[in-house]
């Protein structure tokens, strides 16, 4: 692929991807992905297990040193990643993990506040391995949010959370988006979650984005709304779930 | 002491740490005359030999005068069973004092106030003490710098002027002068006798009649090997220095010349007198209790070496 480093997109595009391909050995994972995300846009990415969602996120974050591939990528420098695993440094306390690399007492303060927002006030000095799975995930979320990035890449950040905590985290994320308007790319397995949060939903399959759906429902979105249900059924069918009368979890 | 048996009982085994004689016996063919089984050990030097004695891993060793003295001071009863010296000891000393480049030292008397390399417990160390004694100095009149005498530590220490004086032996004498002579390095003769060479064995070996008889036989062969080396310098250089020790022909010739001729006297009274002086000096300098020299000589062996030589000629 010919490089086009000169053709910078207008600054309103937060993410600009053209013809992105990634391969592991003989297996092609991404096969010509094109994507633009506007500033402040909230995009959800769905896809089967093993379809390449994490691979795509890692490419966007520039973490795939040494992975074979081609394509053009443009992202803001200020981006933040919530990894699929919580990825807390085991040798730093919870608060140290949140404020990693932040400077001064304002960083400390912000870290403490973010921890409280994810419901972990008072656990500042615990070691990561003293937390439950969901608690670890929330610390990782707090670590990303406290940085107020221009682009937030989140790989199933709510996977280990119960219904109530999950709703709280949705509210937290919405609030953050309203305040700082970051572009968000959220990987999730929960179709309802995608519909209720995102402006746009992508489905990745066989290395390509086979679906790019604008969601034009009013917020807050009602799960009972017929168009909500219709969108759900459409997306599930794109994911291969075609069971009328049986609603996927 | 029980008189020595005239014949070595069959089955006697002796472990001998005397690599030079071992080679001489081999090259000269004298080794075939040994009537008992020998296990050779490549061990030399006082501390190592004494350690091997302590472990009952060795029956007899070949060293200079000092090790038997220290062994007896430290609970290891040993006795000298053979003695040889150099034909002209003052002209053919084992050691000479190397003088650091630029240090104005011409005689032993100039040692006052100087830094001297000193290795306690080794022959070189004792030589330093004896030289000071001879010059009428006490060890407090100089600075003794404790350094091991191994390897080229002494020449290096002299060359880098870390010490003013250090006893040098063997090839190091010549090498030091060739290398650092141009910078002003010199040598000083000590004029003392530093030539005694002994075979010594632990008391428990000497108390074993079979081993004692084997030792007696070995002392005879040892004397004959010494004589053989005196007479066959060329073969000795070729087989030992060049062939076994890996030296150049030139170094071999130099060492043979430096060693001069070694003789085995039939009378120990002279050496015992000098030995007693050394014991007294060391006892005085190092704070040990002096003892009678007779304690470390086994007189049963006194005549054996010279007798064997006389018989073979």
């Amino acid at each position: 692929m010919a490089p086009h480093p000169g053709k910078l997109k207008p600054a309103t595009k937060a993410v600009h991807v053209r013809n992105l391909a990634r391969r592991f050995a003989t297996k092609t994972i991404l096969d010509g992905v094109d994507l633009d995300i506007e500033e402040g846009e909230f995009v959800a990415l769905l896809g089967r297990s093993g379809s390449g969602k994490s691979t795509f996120l890692r490419a966007l974050a520039g973490l795939d040193h040494g992975v074979e591939g081609t394509g053009t990528l443009e992202t803001p420098e200020s981006l933040s990643v919530v990894f699929q695993d919580a990825r807390l440094l085991p040798w730093r306390t919870v608060i140290q993990n949140v404020t990693l690399g932040l400077r001064g007492s304002s960083g400390q303060e912000a870290g403490r506040k973010a921890l409280a927002e994810v419901g972990l006030a008072g656990r500042e000095t615990a070691w990561p391995n003293q937390l439950s799975g969901g608690e670890q995930q929330r610390v990782a979320l707090a670590r990303s949010l406290v940085r107020e990035p221009a682009l937030l890449l989140a790989d199933e950040p709510f996977g280990a959370l119960d219904a109530l905590t999950r709703l709280k985290m949705h509210d937290l994320l919405r609030e953050l988006c309203a305040r700082h308007r970051p572009a968000v790319l959220l990987v999730t397995h929960d179709v309802d979650e995608a519909i209720s949060l995102a402006d746009r939903i992508l489905v990745l399959d066989e290395g390509r984005l086979i679906e790019d759906l604008k969601i034009d429902l009013p917020t807050p979105r009602d799960h009972g709304d017929p168009s909500f249900a219709q969108t759900r059924i459409h997306l599930l069918s794109r994911l291969g779930v075609e069971l009328p009368g049986r609603k996927a979890a | 002491d029980a008189p020595l048996l005239s014949k070595v009982p069959p089955g006697t085994v002796l472990t001998i740490g005397d690599p030079v004689t071992q080679k001489a016996l081999e090259v000269s063919g004298l080794g075939k005359e040994l009537s008992f089984e020998v296990k050779w050990a490549n061990i030399s030097g006082g501390p190592q030999t004494s350690e091997a004695f302590r472990a009952h891993a060795l029956d007899v060793g070949s060293v200079a005068e000092i090790p038997s003295i220290f062994a007896n001071w430290n609970n290891l009863p040993v006795r000298n069973i053979a003695y040889r010296e150099r034909r002209d000891p003052i002209a053919n000393p084992i050691y000479r004092f190397g003088i650091a480049p630029g240090a104005a030292i011409k005689t032993l008397a100039d040692f006052r106030g100087k830094r001297i390399a000193f290795s306690p417990g080794q022959a070189q160390g004792t030589l330093v003490l004896r030289a000071l004694h001879a010059a009428g100095l006490k060890s407090g009149d100089v600075t003794l710098v404790e350094l091991p005498s191994t390897s080229d530590v002494y020449p290096k220490a002299l060359a880098s002027k870390q010490v003013d004086i250090a006893p040098l032996g063997g090839v190091y004498i010549r090498r030091y002068i060739t290398q650092y002579g141009p910078d002003g390095a010199t040598l000083v003769e000590h004029g003392l006798r530093d030539d005694p060479s002994h075979l010594y064995a632990p008391q428990w070996v000497l108390d074993d009649p079979a081993k004692a008889a084997a030792l007696a036989e070995y002392v005879g062969l040892w004397a004959r090997a010494t004589e053989w080396v005196n007479r066959n310098p060329d073969l000795w250089i070729k087989e030992y220095y060049v062939g076994q020790q890996g030296l150049s022909q030139e170094d071999g010739e130099y060492l043979v010349k430096l060693n001069g001729e070694q003789v085995v006297p039939s009378d120990w009274s002279e050496v015992k007198k000098r030995h007693q002086e050394t014991i007294d000096l060391l006892a005085d300098e190092l704070g040990y209790k002096s003892f009678n020299v007779e304690q470390i000589f086994d007189n049963r062996f006194e005549k054996l070496g010279a007798a064997a030589l006389a018989k073979s000629q």
Partner: protein, 296 residues
Amino acid sequence: MATTWDADEAKLSRSSGGRIVRAGSRLVKPAGSAGPRARRRLGPGPAIPFGLQIGPALLVLTWVVGSALGWIDPRILSAPWTVAEAFVRLIEQGRLQDNFVTSATRALLGLSIGLLIGTILAVIAGLSRIGEALIDGPVQIKRAIPTLALIPLLILWFGIGESMKVTTIALAVIVPIYIHTHNALRSIDSRYVELAETLRMSQKDFVLQVVLPGALPGFLLGLRFAVTLCWVSLVVVEQINATSGLGYMIDLARNYGQTDVILVGLVVYVLLGLVSDGLVRLLERRVLSWRRTLAN
């Protein structure tokens, strides 16, 4: 046919149907006390109090009993009381204390310098390929050359004074510190490095928050080697122009064949080694308290 596995306050039994029953209360004391064990525990279990002291104690016991019963030839290995006498004698003469102070100064000075240099070299070589290219080879070379053979060169460069001794010790210490820290650094999970990259950490923060704490277990293992090495090196360096010091004391005694003094020296070495190692292990337990491993 229930088998009781643990009688400590509580019961764990296996009933006939391949079932596990556990009952009772347990109060876990701060560290290492055994609660009722659930299933066959594959780890080593809780620590035995003063467990590490049992081995050495048994050795001493063997020595005492063997000497008392005459199994050990005192010419070969002096009896403990002979050594104890020599110990007392040396202390009364003030020699042991003096030698210890001299040696400790040298050892600790060399240790500190070696620690600092070794760690810095390891970080440089760990984080930069060029640094590694320049540093790693020379350290491996230093390590391949026996210290004994290095001494003449060190004399040439550093003389025969204190600086040569401290340098030799520092050089000895650098090796395990460098190799362990470098290895530990390079073994840090790449997931944490990725994390640091996305957090846009400064190089300094990366070193201080990710690399050094992550490499700490390796560094501490290196430190365990370093603390004994600095004592052991004394035997070599104090052969050169020393008039006091533990190594000097042993060297002198070896030259003269004073077995009891040698043994006093060795006993002091052993004590120093065990205490130093014990201190590092204590430190290890404290600063690595975040770890959950087979050991606890």
